[in-house]
Amino acid sequence: MIEIRFHGRGGQGAVTAAEILAKAAFKDGKYSQAFPFFGVERRGAPVMAFTRIDAEPINLRYQVYNPDYVVVLDDGLLSVVDVYFGLKENGEVIINTHEEVKSENHTVFDIDATGIALEYLGVNIVNTIILGYFAKRTGEVSIESLLEVIKETFPGPIGEKNAAAAQKAYDMA
């Protein structure tokens, strides 16, 4: 089983990202689960969401405490939240940033998802883009399934644009 923790701010789509990832993995023929750490936080406040992916049905009904991957949608969170908390020793972190982020203990990948978002979508919503990057970097989910789920989640031109942006991030990884 692999476990992924998403960090974002309310309104950035961290919960949706966790769900899209779970749905894409499901499309790949795996079992998956996604759920938010649902707070009463409003737009802008730090939020978390989780995804589990496994070849077998998933029995666990508690939060992810030792993720294999951490995905950070906003590098501003680094000063507020310990995004590395509980990360497995060989765990990896993917951060949306235009600066280089370093960690002594963990492998960190940075991607300027905001740049892609502004180019493709015209708004700073990066959840689908960072998933494209995640797909290539980790190989945990296929880009085909991911793009399909993105288009299902956002029907019409918005979905097409998001899919194109995710593909771009995938190609960059």
């Binding site: 996604a34 759920f35 938010p36």
Partner: protein, 382 residues
């Protein structure tokens, strides 16, 4: 059959759509809200041919649901927490009027202090209302149970409302795979609802919700108990028939590795999944532990439980609720008839995560008991 992936709230809404209720009065409340939203969308899109009533409170939600049910149609409503508390009075009326309502309750803690996260205090507090209460473990069971509930509630020998209890957020907002059923299969399984005993029709005037003096009230309540008893077999029958038809069968309880277990953990709802995981891990270490999931809390399946726990040494009962001065409700209920050595554990209140460590601790404390009821994960003075 199509396998899809969705939240439990969505699975509930999909089941409701397939059951084709005619009237759906519902009031939004976290974490039930998306059920009310999905149903609104189904009606707006013409996918569900029902009257959706945007009531101004949960009290009116259950009142309008009861009114519609008594007017002779299949109904549905859903709520959570404070909303269920606001319904309290009318829950008794619905059961007393023998109205076959099916309602989903997204289990959530009760104020004060205000809390939006999961525990089961809300529905436990309604346990004496005369409703059948079924606690589900995952999205699939929620979907299946909504459908079975109509069969149970509308059975002529039962005619009691059914509350399907699903853990807030842990289930309601978790995306996971669900096998949906075809409309044709559901239509065959459920059949139409045809009211037989009591309905509002100018062609055949009846008075419903009457006043009963001491000469009749006791009998009216006793009849409900008889119906509750009868529902016990029916829940099993319907669960078995569902299994034959669709490959997933259900009963009043669900034992997991209990045959040779020395300690049996008894629990309800979503935490049973994590308990299974812990049981597997402990078994791998050679510990004889099992899980007894209680699915039907009302009626309470004493006989089934007795049969399953008869060879166990000790029981560890997990409760996401508390009856002050006694302990957890499941524990207290169990103790009224089951004389096994049993210990109660309170956990998961107000959304406190039920982690494997708590369950392991419950097993340890059952082996080496300190007191009868223990609050797990309690932070001492900081």
């Amino acid at each position: 059959m199509a396998k899809e992936i969705m939240t439990t709230n969505r699975a509930v809404a999909e089941a409701v759509k397939l059951a084709k209720p005619k009237v759906v009065p519902v009031y939004p409340i976290t974490p039930q809200t998306t059920i009310s939203e999905y149903l609104a969308q189904f009606v707006a899109d013409g996918d569900l041919d029902a009257e959706y009533i945007r009531v101004e409170s949960e009290h009116s939600a259950i009142s309008a649901t009861l009114g519609a049910s008594e007017a002779g149609v299949r109904v549905f409503t859903a709520t959570s927490s404070q909303g269920l508390m606001l319904m309290h009075e009318i829950l008794f009326a619905a059961a007393g009027m023998r109205s076959p309502i099916v309602m989903a309750n997204a289990n959530r803690a009760i104020s004060a202090p205000l809390n939006i996260w999961n525990d089961q205090q809300d529905s436990i507090a309604q346990r004496d209302a005369g409703w059948i209460q079924i606690y589900v473990e995952n999205a699939q069971e929620a979907f299946d149970t909504i459908l079975q509930s109509y069969r149970i509630a509308e059975n002529e020998e039962v005619m009691l409302p059914v509350m399907v209890c699903l853990d807030g957020f842990i289930l309601t907002h978790t995306v996971e795979p669900v096998d949906l059923l075809d409309q044709k299969d559901v239509d065959t399984f459920l059949g139409p609802y045809v009211p037989k005993f009591a309905y509002l029709d100018p062609e055949r005037p009846m008075s419903l919700g009457n006043f009963a003096d001491p000469g009749y009230y006791t009998e009216a309540r006793y009849d409900m108990q008889v119906a509750m008893d009868k529902s016990m077999d029916l829940i099993k029958e319907v669960g078995a028939e569902f299994g034959e038809k669709f490959g997933r069968d259900y009963g009043l309880v669900e034992p997991y590795l209990c045959e040779d277990a020395e300690i049996i953990i008894i629990a309800m709802g979503s935490m049973c999944s994590t308990v299974r995981h812990v049981v597997d891990e402990l078994r791998a270490k050679g510990e004889k532990v099992g899980l007894l999931k209680v699915r039907s809390y009302r009626p309470f399946p004493f006989e089934e439980i007795d049969e399953i726990v008869k060879n166990a040494d000790k029981l560890a009962v997990l409760d996401k609720n508390f009856s002050f001065g006694i302990g957890g409700a499941l524990f207290a209920d169990l103790k009224t008839k089951c004389h096994k050595e049993a210990y109660g554990f309170i956990l998961g209140l107000g959304g406190r995560d039920v982690i494997p460590e708590y369950i392991e601790e419950a097993v340890e404390l059952t082996k080496n008991p300190v007191k009868e009821v223990t609050w797990l994960g309690l932070k001492e003075d900081e």
